[in-house]
Symmetry: C2
Subunit: 251 residues, 2 copies
């Protein structure tokens, strides 16, 4: 996809982040073009949104620039005034998407509601996220764009899945400190939990083999994953299982 090399400077004149306000634009270092009529940030975001939608719907290389502009109710000239070319637009889309981050501070919730409940919430949120059709398609988009731009993929992973994973690891570590879990390597255990949550659902979603699971089903899956996870890693009566101690990774 996207033939040419991508410009590292996503934007034309104003390297203005999507969320920047007009005031911010004025006061921050905007040496260029401070004088006349400022660019309308609304149009920019509309363009990104339209591009996102059409990239997803038709594919990055199939969606027409004109189409995108029309869809954003903006002239094509304005599109090109904001983004040098299709690649720049794609990068903006990905960058914007990366900023919609997933997770937050679950450790606090954990203190209030208990680990298991928090994990169930986390799982539900994660599964909802992972099975969201739009999300699935976006993953494809990213993965496709990755061919030309590995570092974009990395950034996306770190902003999205990686961050979720980190949160999960922290959560698990908390449980370990509290003695609720007996785990040697929280990172690996996080993988286990994720896996238990996922099962086949992600693959099924990727290939559209099933319809998107409903909320109730996801809730069940989340709960089930936590149950199994606890069964795996509950600190047992020490006699029967020295489990993760020696066994953890070594084999």
């Amino acid at each position: 996809m996207v033939e040419g090399a991508l410009t590292l400077l996503a934007d034309r004149l104003r390297p203005c982040s999507t969320s920047c306000s007009v005031q911010a634009m004025r006061h921050e270092r905007m040496q260029l073009s401070r004088r006349g009529r400022p660019k309308d940030p609304v149009k920019r975001t509309a363009l990104i949104a339209a591009a996102r939608q059409l990239f997803l719907a038709k594919g990055v290389d199939v969606a027409t620039m004109e189409e995108i502009a029309t869809h954003a109710k903006v002239s094509k000239a304005t599109l090109y005034a904001n983004f040098a070319d299709r690649s720049a637009l794609l990068e903006a889309v990905i960058r914007t998407e990366s900023q919609r981050v997933t997770s937050d501070d679950y450790p606090e919730e954990a203190k209030a509601l208990g680990l298991e409940t928090t994990l169930r919430h986390f799982g539900l949120r994660l599964l909802t996220f992972l099975t969201d059709p739009q999300r699935v398609e976006f993953d494809m988009l990213i993965a496709g764009a990755t061919k030309q731009r590995p570092e974009l993929a990395r950034r996306f992973f770190e902003a999205g899945p990686g961050r979720g994973r980190a949160a999960l690891v922290r959560l698990i570590a908390t449980g370990v400190r509290q003695g609720i879990l007996a785990i040697e390597d929280p990172l690996e255990a996080a993988g286990d939990l994720l896996g238990l949550w996922q099962g086949f659902t992600r693959i099924e979603a990727t290939f559209r083999y099933r319809n998107t699971p409903g909320r109730e089903e996801l809730r069940k899956r989340a709960a089930r994953g936590v149950r199994l996870f606890m069964r795996l890693y509950a600190p047992s009566t020490p006699a029967s299982r020295p489990t993760t101690k020696r066994r953890g990774r070594g084999c």
Copy 2:
């Protein structure tokens, strides 16, 4: 991707499967075009191979038909003689890929080597399969093509992941019958095992966050997944959990 509607008839005149031999072509019901010079099956497969490679490398919509023909050392006219259009070519690629199936008869192996060992083999094979970079890219390709052709995705799923899953389910069911596993729903349990095998690796592979894991690492993952799975589903003496009974194997 791939704008037009796709012809269900992938081929132009001769609905000849990729592997068909010249004799087969003559003797099977080939009412059409039995007389003159037969089409060269080699060219056909070369075209599919070239298309596969270029679709993967550049994206389905970016690779040029001319390019593909050249790459296959075939004239463009011949390309169009074999495949009505790009979509037909794509379908042929996917269909061919679907025929490279994964799994076979593991239950037999299970009888010979024992369930756990067989599961480890299965897991290794599956993980190798899932993390193979080419495979990952092909998944993207499929997922992309899915937008226009849901039924192709279904077929692909059933030929690939679905078949693997079915094999795994059978394997687990065998274990249940033998009393090695205490499982109510083998399908769900298969999802668990798959999840334990996967952990984060698939996501990481999708986003190229890590390099493809080496064989040894995959082996460890496979073994670990089986170990955890057995711990989850070993028929326990209700009092404690003697899970670890025969945990020795993995190391």
